[in-house]
Symmetry: C3
């Protein structure tokens, strides 16, 4: 079994941002040389997520608005008694989920035509990481 | 390491449908012959999902109603400026998630008594696929 | 490839409870002896979940309140026609998701500084299980 682990770094300009990382993950896959297996792509933070969906700007706006509706910023989260103000960022992370598994077949990500991997930042403007771990043969 | 990759095809009659695919996944597992490992079951579309829960018709109605409440059909999604009308299908897919990993122990899916794998179609009446990738020994 | 499978048992005092199982998973990892690979941590029940987030009591209260808002207890779920009363527990399980994959690098869980693994019980006071399956080399 071959494994290869790399880390993608982010330092977003906005508090919330959605970044297409499909190309970055593909670079790690190619470097690993595996033909069959899978790739774990997982945020290493509890106020960020990783998801697979469409690379369409309007939809990304819809996703952002929807996450704010279902997991809104509020002053009165209990978590804020610690001095933090990012309770909503944790809930958004739980809603979108922090990781995906990408199948690899014949040396390529085995995706449907519209599937793209996104890093979702919910508490940005600081250095954060995603682990990309390739496993296979 | 043994890997086996197969694809399940769907063309639902309804716009939204929930299909128990546990038996189909088991056929692929048996064909692979692995005793230890896991199975990635992942929708290859951005308006569908895969989840593990109960095979109970009433609950499936509850899940459908709940998804429509949390990620409702609306005319005014930004995504619809592209000509699409399925913004809600994308959000439902994100909510339910598009993939699961099934553990395999002693040649069997290592599930609890009520766990069943479902394909959740949120924008049906067309051909769509799920990848089933078995990995193990 | 090395695989090791163990089961964690729970019997919570409360109907809903959130239990940090990071240490339990680490014991299984150490026992396996793998240096590179991953760990599947998955609830074996359809009214429980496993997630990765912060070990902060205030946040856990926020998460519980938020889950009750988005997937509330209601008398009129169709699922209750079976005699059950835990429709909301199923929906909470779907929302938080029932499993995570933990990356392993150099023999350690390759987590960010605040990531902790939680078992989320949504229909407790009875014996339930989580599977921990380590795979790697």
């Amino acid at each position: 079994m071959i494994t290869l682990t790399e880390y993608l770094w982010f330092n977003t300009k906005e508090h919330r941002e959605y970044i297409n990382i499909t190309g970055d993950v593909d670079v790690v896959l190619k470097k690993s040389g595996i033909k069959e297996g899978m790739i774990l792509v997982s945020a290493m933070h509890i106020t960020a997520g990783v998801y697979v969906n469409d690379a369409e700007d309007g939809l990304i706006e819809d996703i952002d608005k929807w996450l704010e509706q279902l997991a809104p910023f509020r002053r009165d989260y209990k978590h804020h008694l610690t001095g933090e103000s990012n309770g909503d960022s944790h809930l958004k992370s739980l809603l979108i989920h922090h990781e995906v598994i990408v199948p690899v077949t014949n040396g390529k990500m085995d995706f449907g035509p519209w599937q793209q991997i996104y890093y979702a930042e919910f508490d940005g403007k600081r250095k954060k990481r995603v682990i990309v771990k390739v496993m296979g043969e």
